[in-house]
């Protein structure tokens, strides 16, 4: 469920097909995100999941899997 939402947001934001996404994909290197895309993604996750993601945490996020793991811990799923 959480994965599905995360995939949807990334797909919308970066214009990448959902079936091309997997946990090991790196946002910048593999999915072509630029630094502003990453900020927008973080904002979109904050909005969707009602959490606040501090810059120190956001900087550590590199892959789709990182996001899912981070949000699972934050949301407590």
């Amino acid at each position: 469920m959480l994965e599905e939402k995360v995939y949807q947001i990334i797909s919308d934001q970066l214009g990448v097909e959902k079936d091309k996404l997997s946990p090991d994909k790196k946002l910048i290197e593999d999915l072509g995100a630029d630094s502003l895309d990453v900020v927008e993604l973080i904002m979109a996750f904050e909005e969707e999941f009602g959490v606040e993601i501090p810059d120190e945490d956001a900087e550590k996020i590199q892959t789709v899997g990182d996001i899912i793991a981070y949000l699972k811990e934050k949301v407590g799923e």
Binding site: D34, L36, E40, M43
Partner: protein, 239 residues
């Protein structure tokens, strides 16, 4: 012919002077215009004069909450004109820290806060126009205006840096630098000083608010889609 139909444009400080002329011009070109000022009554009155669906709202640029409230009321916008500005002139030796803070607060920090509040919507839409009204004083300086010149020069740096950050999102950020324009702000200048300025202006006259508005409206249009990070003087050759 420039066409701004289906665009929502917010002009700060648009109850008089250059801001009012810009609001009028954008409205004539089809934009839905939001007039703002420190007097709600005056803002509504000007919006009514402009017509064409224009709306007037109170806005205090030193108050983040006021900016957020305005955003809630009007929603996202396509065009932001950071025009509002004040002066608290004095010779540097006599300039108080309060007069410094006040002018930097409204003229520069106000631009930061407004842009921060409204840029997200433009990023989402992948379209936006931001035009910051600076001043030739920010380019060449002026006696008695250390605070104003600093704020206006700051706006130029702000414009150039933000233009680079937002270029990939199809949002242009430009600045227009008026010279001496016939407004309430320059009306109060002593006659002798006005004469002195006049001598320095190659065109030998003050500009009209409409002459600034026409450049601003061009920068807001599709025709100006490849111009970003620029500062355009409208100063009769002064700077």
């Amino acid at each position: 012919m420039l066409n701004l139909s289906n665009k929502k444009a917010l002009v700060t400080g648009s109850t008089r002077g250059i801001g009012k002329a810009i609001a009028k011009r954008l409205s004539q070109l089809g934009a839905k215009v939001i007039v703002t000022g420190r007097s709600e009554e005056r803002a509504k009155e000007v919006a009514k004069q402009i017509g064409n669906g224009a709306e007037g709202y109170y806005l205090n640029l030193k108050d983040r909450e006021s900016i957020r409230e305005l955003h809630e009321k009007i929603g996202d916008i396509d065009i932001l004109i950071n025009n509002a500005g004040i002066t608290k002139d004095n010779l540097f030796l006599k300039m108080s820290e309060e007069d410094w803070e006040e002018v930097i607060g409204v003229n520069l920090t106000g631009v930061f806060l407004m842009t921060k509040e409204f840029v997200k919507g433009m990023i989402k839409k992948r379209w936006g126009r931001i035009v910051n009204i600076t001043s030739v004083v920010g380019l060449v300086g002026n006696v008695g205006q250390v605070n104003y010149a600093s704020a206006k020069a700051g706006i130029i740096g702000f414009t150039k840096a933000l233009a680079k950050e937002l270029a990939s999102r199809n949002i242009t950020v430009n600045a227009v630098a008026p010279g001496f324009i016939e407004t309430d702000m320059t009306k109060g200048l002593p006659e002798e000083l006005k004469r002195k300025y006049m001598e320095e202006i190659p065109m030998k006259r003050f500009g009209k608010p409409e002459e600034v508005a026409s450049v601003v409206s061009f920068l807001c249009s599709e025709e100006a889609s490849y111009i970003t990070g620029e500062v355009i003087s409208v100063s009769g050759g002064l700077a």
